[in-house]
Amino acid sequence: MSDLTNLTLESALTGMASGDFSSEEITRAHIDACMEAADLNAFITTTFEQAMDMAKASDARRAKGEVGKLEGAPLGVKDLFCTEGVKTTAASQILGDFKPPYESTVSANMKADGMVMLGKLNLDEFAMGSSNETSSYGNVVNPWKNGEELVPGGSSGGSAAAVAADICLGATATDTGGSIRQPASFTGTVGIKPTYGRCSRWGIVAFASSLDQAGPIAKTVKDSAILLDSMAGYDPKDSTSLNVDNGDWVNSCGKSIKGLRIGIPKEYTVDGMPTEIQSLWDQGIEWMKDAGAEIVPVSLPHTKYALPAYYIVAPAEASSNLARYDGMRYGARVDGENLNDTYERTRAAGFGPEVQRRIMIGTYVLSAGYYDAYYLRAQKVRTRISEDFKNAWENCDALLTPTCPSAPFAIGRKLNDPITMYLNDIFTVTANLAGLPGISVPAALDQDGLPLGLQIIGKALDEDTVFAAAGALEKAANFTAKPKKWWV
């Protein structure tokens, strides 16, 4: 039955619909695959027993003719989404054995649509990282290998690795500066961060509230559209949730892009970028032309300020969002001499070095005397970046860029060099700062046989165009490579 794990979500749903196999069967196959892939360390918590119960319940619903958008599909959930009664860690020790008495809106939507949850996927601690190495539950190993073990990207490294290794049909992820798209690029999977406000943030452990956005990591563009269609939707419990209907995303994936104007931002050519990335980008441009798109050079002049601005805004919000982890009401606590000592010991023990670094940066940039120079200026940059995009949309309908400046790198290589690590987000943070949808599509293998992705950035709420362009890219790239199953 192991061939059931090679299916896409779309074909699995079709297979169950036509009675070729049950949810129980495909779930069992995925659980077996998950167990074989323990070396990837993709999961923090597995919920196989509940998954089998959910699968049986799904089969029973299907027998009664009740079929949701994700009916019976075994999927993974990034361990940043609170799941009722199931340990939720954010890959941090500070949450201890926290079991939320509530379910995040996004995962609740998916459960209502028939999801079978296999477990909670590993990530960088509090989603802070680009390599999944900051997880306090150990790093995730990229299914793609190049002699040495590689990082899967981050922060949604567990989600990306699990989908790439065919141990989940798809997975939820979140993206604050590139945390969906970069790991998708590193693992040969598709990842979309929708427009800010499409997916409710309610019940997702917050990193940087004004940037955080949930989205799926999937095997194909269409799978990602199916997943997003279930995840997204207005939620009155999130004040920043947008009260708009989903688009016709699943159908948009196959739409022609003839006449679509694709912008190529000149500022996305950066110093030191491998020639392979540049030539892949050039190749992408040719593919879009061949599909009938018109290529338009555009300028986003404030791009170079995006990364610095991001690394002010995100830590600032994080320093405040993470203040609630004080050991008082839930999670881990280390008792001290007095209240302040208890706070200090708890937070020193509970947060890893990268999280501590960002809390300190964030605290610093919000401090009296520094606020104007850092936080306020960063917000101004953010406004400029949004204006850059608005100006670009005068001349084009979507942008094509590389997703990352590099292929996946070896575990440990950048861990002690935060600045180099932060550069991973250089092509992805702009979409977060401006709240725009962005998708990474696997486009080619580099000379070492490692996957590289290309990114489409669209207008706010124009996921339909993003999916159409991504679909065209996927078709042209015809990326069929799979990692060798060395972990089995």
Binding site: K237, S239, S320
Partner: protein
């Protein structure tokens, strides 16, 4: 708009060793918004509930929980702003004020720092011992309350009750326009009257639903401003006066001894009647305010504000002026009768269509006296305004005398019921039957022949016979009729 130019009346100056001092006072009043739900969560706000029973996931700062603004609280803030004659800001924003404490589950308080919902305004206060004073309002903003730390349940542990966590507060900041403890307490009293009239805060200082942070500094009359100290969380009008007095005295002593005042936050100890240092300016928190990214800026429509304005109830000052005009009562009485909404409503119901002065005398005299004696609030008065009005009607139409009316009132206070019922039941109806009165008059005259002669000489002695007749009738004889008949019989 700060009226630093205004110099206090000489009577308000404080005497020091080296001369006179003037007090400069500004207040930050925290008023709990009257609302059934908290500012950013649906949790209830019932006072006195079991600890930690009015707490939502949001109030407890659980992971991934998000605030959603309670629109009713916004409406209440706007209503209050209008009552303070203040600028309503159609654009306002919520900021996070970051600090760590056990009763602050999120690690930050959601407040409004840069862009408050209400801007500058002005109210007039009437200190008991002086002229009316205008006090400027600097701003009003919405914010969440923190939970409550309970230190006295255990020797070495602190308990936390999160019932208050997230409750909506309005912080109303005055300009430093007050010059004496009496002005400061008159200001808080006026503010309380306004929010009560508006129904935006119950003004209950005992429950802590209205409390003040008091900023005090001293200067030579009309001179350079001094350094101020802030006294936190003072929760009664008397304590406000005492704390200011004590704090001003303390500052004067330091300055006169050659010292300087450190800007600091102090606590008022009402038991010892002193203020104590809580933290100095150097120890002040850096709150790292920044816009709350979980909340969109508050953008109000002018029509929203206009609708609230259109349904604004009459405020104490306007009502007072109207009572003077409409019911012809003295300004002092009108002030007492409009101190709060319940009193104003009671009086108005009693006085409507009747003699306003008599009504005021009855409400402020008999009624307040009886309520005071019994320790009952006006809201729970056993005598309804309608029944008191009915009693006044029976006096006016001579059914009973003023004296009998007091008896009826007592019965009414004891057991309720209308004046008519009580008069009927107790047989207190005035005797107006001239035949019966004439008989009683004749009887009195016959019994006191010597007095009759004297009275004929000196009509002032008529009162003796009136008294006799009234006594004989059990107080029920109509005094006018008795007078008239007496005069006729005595040929006066």
């Amino acid at each position: 708009m700060f009226t630093a130019e205004r110099v206090a009346d000489e009577k308000d100056w404080m005497k020091g060793e080296t001369g006179d001092w003037e007090l400069i006072i500004g207040l930050e009043v925290h008023a709990q918004v009257s609302s059934n739900a908290k500012l950013f969560s649906g949790a209830a706000t019932e006072y006195g509930a079991e600890p930690n029973t009015q707490v939502s996931l949001v109030d407890a700062g659980m992971p991934g929980m998000l605030p959603v603004i309670n629109e009713f609280c916004v409406e209440q803030a706007v209503r209050t702003g209008l009552g303070l004659n203040a600028q309503i800001n159609l654009f306002s924003r919520f900021d996070r004020k970051n600090y760590f404490y056990v009763d602050l589950p999120q690690g930050y308080q959601i407040s409004q720092f840069e862009h408050p919902i209400v801007g500058e305004g002005e109210i007039e206060i009437h200190p008991e011992d002086g002229d009316a004073v205008k006090v400027g309002i600097e701003r009003l903003h919405l914010e969440q309350d923190a939970g409550k730390s309970v230190h006295d349940l255990s020797d070495d542990e602190t308990y936390v009750d999160l019932n208050r966590s997230g409750v909506a507060l309005m912080e109303i900041v005055s300009k430093p326009d007050m010059r004496s403890p009496e002005e400061a307490s008159a200001y808080v009293d006026k503010l309380r009257g306004i929010v009560r009239a508006l129904g935006t805060c119950d003004g209950d200082m005992e429950k802590g639903n209205l409390r003040a942070d008091v900023n005090v500094s001293v200067r030579r009359p009309g001179g350079e401003l001094g350094t101020r100290c802030e006294i936190k969380n003072v929760n009664s009008l008397r304590f406000i006066r005492q704390a200011i007095n004590h704090e001003a005295r303390r500052q004067i002593e330091i300055i006169e001894a050659g010292g300087t005042i450190d800007q600091e936050t102090r606590l008022y100890d009402s038991v010892k009647n002193e203020t104590r240092s809580m933290r100095s300016k150097e120890d002040a928190h850096d709150y790292r305010y920044f816009p709350d990214p979980d909340l969109l800026p508050l953008q109000l429509e002018q029509s929203f504000v206009d609708n609230i304005k259109a349904t604004l109830p009459e405020l104490p000052d306007a009502r007072k002026a109207r009572f003077v005009e409409e019911f012809g009562i003295p300004a002092y009485d009108a002030g007492v009768l409009t101190a709060d909404k319940v009193t104003g409503d009671y009086y108005e119901t009693t006085a409507k269509g009747r003699d306003g002065k008599i009504a005021a005398n009855w409400v402020m005299g008999e009624l307040f006296g009886a309520l005071n004696k019994a320790g009952i609030d006006l809201a729970d008065s056993p005598v309804s305004a309608e029944n008191l009005g009915g009693l006044l009607d029976r006096i006016a139409d001579n059914t009973i005398s003023g004296k009998i009316a007091k008896t009826v009132f007592e019965k009414m206070f004891e057991g309720g019921g209308s004046a008519d019922e009580i008069i009927e039941r107790e047989g207190l109806k005035q005797v107006t039957d001239t035949g019966a009165i004439e008989a009683m008059v004749q009887e009195a005259l016959d019994a006191n022949p010597a007095q009759v002669e004297k009275a004929k000489q000196n009509p002032k002695l008529l009162g003796f016979f009136v008294g006799q007749v009234m006594k004989a009738s059990g107080g029920k004889a109509n005094p006018q009729a008795v007078n008239q008949i007496l005069r006729a019989k005595l040929g006066l």
